[in-house]
Symmetry: C2
Subunit: 277 residues, 2 copies
């Protein structure tokens, strides 16, 4: 099956112009593409992993252990570390198996589902004074009305709730500074409503969805229904996505490449956007 | 400064055709791009992380700890894990600080240096019966002669030694099944010669270099000179790259996105290639 996002990428694969060094072979000239570059930007949508990284209140946090840093007896400098982390913390991916037994593990997600055309749905206004806000079917229909098009087939959706601006302030971003099982009920942040998750899977055809909060289900969710709905359809989720305020509402591309853990339920994700200046 | 790889990506960012669902807004039609997709392929150049992942003989290996897997009392399935690893194992990136004190940390590497036009230099024939083979200046000059062009400015180089076919057989791939400091002297696998590393940095202008062995310096190296030469110029290195035998010698793109560890000397890398069918 030919997946749509691949067509987006042929321009890259097909690119053959290159600026050669001006020695011999000078008959091979670069294509007339240099000007074009000034019109594209890469935006890193990834929070760094550090002591400040935000995790679910019950999850193991990121730890970096220095193994070496300094001059060696053999005359060269050498630095190396070990690290440990929960799969689900910081900017990360939920593989479908995270909430669906027969869903894809993180290494099984087709790369094509992680790369392609994207849109952003901005609900910042509604979530500003309501940390329990759930993105609704109406929010998606409003996007379609405003842009005079349906949500593109096989696109990736990024939700902007405005909560990304609080990261990594846990009190504001999670709703609590406490940790442990008792802190779960103190979580307050926006998410995607289960009704809208169902509508997206039934009425539209998306590859993946991400947002600028810790979870696709809002903080007060008990049943994580949006996770279940999406993951039963093998739709992966990107959580704690950074810099979504820098994205336009349409006409950009997402490349989201997670760590390839065999059998993993998710893991750290490096996610970037490509857009016109 | 406008970096060359960005121009490669405008095709993506500028893509606006999309196949809308056939409800209303049908006046917005997709671009004539569907046929194009059949000509592009994504190749995953990443080995999965598991118990089999190959690490340096002195490095901490990958460990996955199951936190949850099964039905919850609330009626939904849930799976999650923790993991720990050395930064440098499996398919990973060496950030310049790994061997150069003032080099970039992994979170500081410009994304533009990790994305762009690539070439492959194949030395499989020379390394087949010589596990201590070091890729030479002549090998790069041979590529240029064969392709009648200089190594493109700001490209990414992938070296194919053939050792990727041994992965994850440690005896064949590393040269030893032993672990610990005493096993270092038993390492035998090909790498890049320091002379060629110097030539690449002095005479050509590359963004990054990767290969299908555990290290850019060959197994018997004592001073890791190729690392030092490259990293003193902020050129990152991709090691244990998978599936390089599936790459052509030119005319493809690399997207290499590492885990974003603040201050990290490297880390797990998800690296893919885009190429024409």
């Amino acid at each position: 099956m030919i997946r749509q996002s691949l067509l987006l990428l042929l321009c890259i694969a097909g690119f053959s112009g290159c600026k050669n060094n001006a020695e011999k072979f000078s008959d091979k000239k670069p294509g007339a593409t240099q000007e074009v570059s000034s019109q594209t930007r890469i935006i890193d949508l990834t929070h760094p992993f550090s002591d400040e990284t935000v995790y679910w209140v019950t999850a193991r946090e990121f730890e970096l252990e220095e193994v070496a840093k300094g001059q060696t007896d053999n005359g060269y400098f050498y630095a190396a570390n070990n690290f440990s982390t929960a799969e689900h913390g910081g900017t990360h991916i939920d593989a479908p198996i995270h909430f669906y037994e027969t869903g894809q593990t993180v290494d099984e997600i087709p790369l094509d589902n992680l790369i392609g055309q994207a849109i952003k749905v901005n609900v910042t206004g509604k979530a500003k004074n309501n940390p329990d806000y759930q993105v609704s079917i109406e929010d998606f229909k409003n996007w379609e009305q405003k842009h005079q098009m349906l949500i593109p087939d096989k696109c990736i959706i990024i939700l902007e709730t405005g909560f990304g601006s609080y990261y990594p302030d846990k009190q504001k971003y999670l709703g609590t500074l406490n940790r442990g099982p008792d802190a779960v009920k103190e979580l307050h942040f926006p998410g995607l409503s289960p009704e809208a998750a169902t509508w997206l899977t039934d009425k539209r055809n998306i590859k993946a969805i991400g947002l600028d909060t810790p979870s696709i289900d809002y903080g007060q969710s008990q049943d994580f229904k949006s996770h279940v709905v999406l993951m039963s359809k093998n739709i992966p989720v990107f959580e704690n996505v950074a810099n979504v305020d820098k994205l336009p509402e349409s006409d950009f591309q997402i490349i989201a490449l997670p760590i390839k853990i065999k059998g993993g339920s998710g893991g750290p994700l490096r996610i970037i956007a490509l857009l016109r200046q």
